[in-house]
Symmetry: C2
Subunit: 503 residues, 2 copies
Amino acid sequence: MNKQRNHVHQLKLRSLGIDTYRENIIFMRSDCHICLSEGFTALTRLVVHHKNKSIIATLNVVKSNLLLDSEAALSEMAMKQLGVTDGDHISISHLKPIESLSDVRAKMFHHKIDKNAYFQIIHDITKGFYADIEIAAFIAACAGDNLDLEEITWLTEAMIHYGSRIKWNEKLILDKHCVGGLPGNRTTPIIVSIIAAAGLTIPKTSSRAITSPAGSADTIETMTPVNLSIEKIQEVVKKEKGCFTWGGTVKLSPADDILITVEKALDVDSAGQMIASVLSKKVAAGATHVVIEIPVGETAKVRTQAEGLKLQYYFKAVGNAVGLNIEVLITDGSQPVGKGIGPSLEAMDVLAVLRNKKDAPSDLKDKSLMISGALFELSGQMEKGKGILEAKQILESGKAYDKFLRICKAQGGFTEPKYGKFKTEIKSTVVGKVVSIDNRKLAKVAKLAGAPHYPAAGIYFEAPIGTQVEKGQTLFTIYAESEGELNYSLDYLKTSNHIITIE
Amino acid sequence: MNKQRNHVHQLKLRSLGIDTYRENIIFMRSDCHICLSEGFTALTRLVVHHKNKSIIATLNVVKSNLLLDSEAALSEMAMKQLGVTDGDHISISHLKPIESLSDVRAKMFHHKIDKNAYFQIIHDITKGFYADIEIAAFIAACAGDNLDLEEITWLTEAMIHYGSRIKWNEKLILDKHCVGGLPGNRTTPIIVSIIAAAGLTIPKTSSRAITSPAGSADTIETMTPVNLSIEKIQEVVKKEKGCFTWGGTVKLSPADDILITVEKALDVDSAGQMIASVLSKKVAAGATHVVIEIPVGETAKVRTQAEGLKLQYYFKAVGNAVGLNIEVLITDGSQPVGKGIGPSLEAMDVLAVLRNKKDAPSDLKDKSLMISGALFELSGQMEKGKGILEAKQILESGKAYDKFLRICKAQGGFTEPKYGKFKTEIKSTVVGKVVSIDNRKLAKVAKLAGAPHYPAAGIYFEAPIGTQVEKGQTLFTIYAESEGELNYSLDYLKTSNHIITIE
């Protein structure tokens, strides 16, 4: 493209203060000379330049005098990305056809695409070249069993390539991950505290919720800051051997952060994308030994043992290809773990376990010990079978809680999580025994109540499988931070059957 | 949902004159009482009510004093859909989870979904319940060979069910369609003129370009109005037996119109969606007998004979299931038809054929006669083998041109198509014979030059396969309506090889 032509169209920037979230929007007058001479039209995407920076933005046309002639406006995020403020001058050019989109189309049509294609797609997504509908199409094209082992490996390598990478001075860096789908499965802060208390290094970065009522980062954030820079993470880990922070702030895998936003909106999480997302972030975080938990249950994210075994195979194969030592644990995903569902309520469970409270959820404790044990053993620091006993000793002696508080302090301080202002107890209308629980529907109730956006919203769950319930006995309590959200989750409850089956 | 709660949040509407095209946007202050009390957040979609109407819109948050407290703004299309003007009062409520999206997810994961699912998805798309990323995911999920015969039939039936349907007094209603992918293949106005001149009824509605430089409707619009209401179409057809109009104005298949907008942006056109799109529109237009042309060529939309035969099978099977008599012709798609590529330039070819000009493109003429003949025969009005002779007689006698002008007059008048203001001749740098043409790249040049948005933009093509060319001989001429677009297509030419292969 002719460079001269790129920069002749100067427009004065006017801040309108419109937040369109992630997708960049440029607002231009329908009668402006650029629209007329260049022929921009509906759904046009174009390149906006300022000094030596440029971004891609979608055009919205203004048909009023909101903008003067020769003025344009950018959405808030676009201004930030381009580094401009009110009154700056920008120039506009055509967006060249994005070649990697033809690979996305090939993938939509179930063709295998090559390593170079994955690298180019991830490069272009990272650079913000893709519109949201194009990202949605890529996500849908990768869903199902569309990616084979090689393709998942290439996607993972591409995400690693275009992300940052934290360097550590130590050779042994532990990490863990749970594929999710099980409400309340909040083992991370417990495991990190146990491992770090044992003197091993575990710089854990967690994600926020994709489709669940809480991600680990959402839960931990109710107790301590999680938005830490890479420098701050390194400082915390140097001091305490472990941390539990949000991966998003450190831009370990910027393409993945973008993909996850759209996956969340679509409520989709496919195998290939998930493996690439998880493993690229582990490599980026500098991990060498990783334990991955796959809960399997009829209403968990992974529904069958066969699916669990296939994921186990992919995680190990792709993990080895990118240089990781991987152990995969398939666990029981038939019901929620602990009693809380939603950030603050799950944090309360975590604290109960760390504080060795009598009423601490034993399932959460047992699972944390099992994964900690597996980490000890995978690291080669302990014999097979000895890991879990060591983990138990560290937790029950109070050393883990002590380490937890020290890590919180290093991250910026500890605060006690709170309950939501509004609550309703859901009581049993029958007598009987709880025989099954629909995790997905229960998660939906918690989400409709406001979790994870409102951290104190969610569910306190008191009727695990096997519970003998009386008529009028509380099955669970819904917490919300606004009456609107509370009512909304109650509306859903009214129309939804078999969340808890009592016989 | 509690009806009372739906309507308590009143906001005063302020028109900002922002055109966001198809997706509805509502602009609300970040500190407004509804945002705060209901907890709306990024990418939130919500329901906007006015009197007894409602629409779904995506929330953009305003962080400036563009809006006063208790004010909100809607994008232009949203205001139109809701039937509101500046100063009206609107109310806001939560969007209930859209159940049919779980079927879209199932389809993304390659599960077969049932008839009811397709009906619900198409209903929800028609009602505007889907965000663009959700439509993109549905399109991607249906791409490849993901839909089986039954699913394509259900999708077609759903589109028919939620669209309009034109009723005709006659029993025999002819129609034709070309699956496209071949630049310049503009037989429609010629065929309609021949068939109608023979006294048979052919109320043809065409589409605008999806991924090509011109749809039939775009081409015809350079000669006569195509935005006709159903009533007007019926009036034209009653008078002249035929018409050539744009299908979009009559909302024959509103879901399809929405799907096509996103397909166009993604540059995707999959088999299942295409068959459902075409056949639903034929049924909606009241057709009984339809000839479908499938051009097959390496760089046409359909690339192999096998693919052509599969589409032929699907068209016939699904067509019969929805009550249509179908003939499918597989034709040569190795190179452009006629000389023009782009609305006005293609219209000039059409007129040359209708006017029996000596330099009229014979390929366009021959194909038009072949399809007209097939229609005569499919209708049962003529014996096998006699149709094409009858068509030839009607065209060469001038009866077809006479009918063409009468139809144009009935549709609102005839105008002569024009050339674009800016042009560049592309000359051969070698001596030799044209051995192959890349239709896709040639179409791209025409699109970059502005077609179909600027009707007079495009390519006049003078080097069909077999042409003996001299050094400096013009291969094709690019026309554009702005210098920017002309340069843009030239930029692409510079970086693109093998558009025309000369040996």
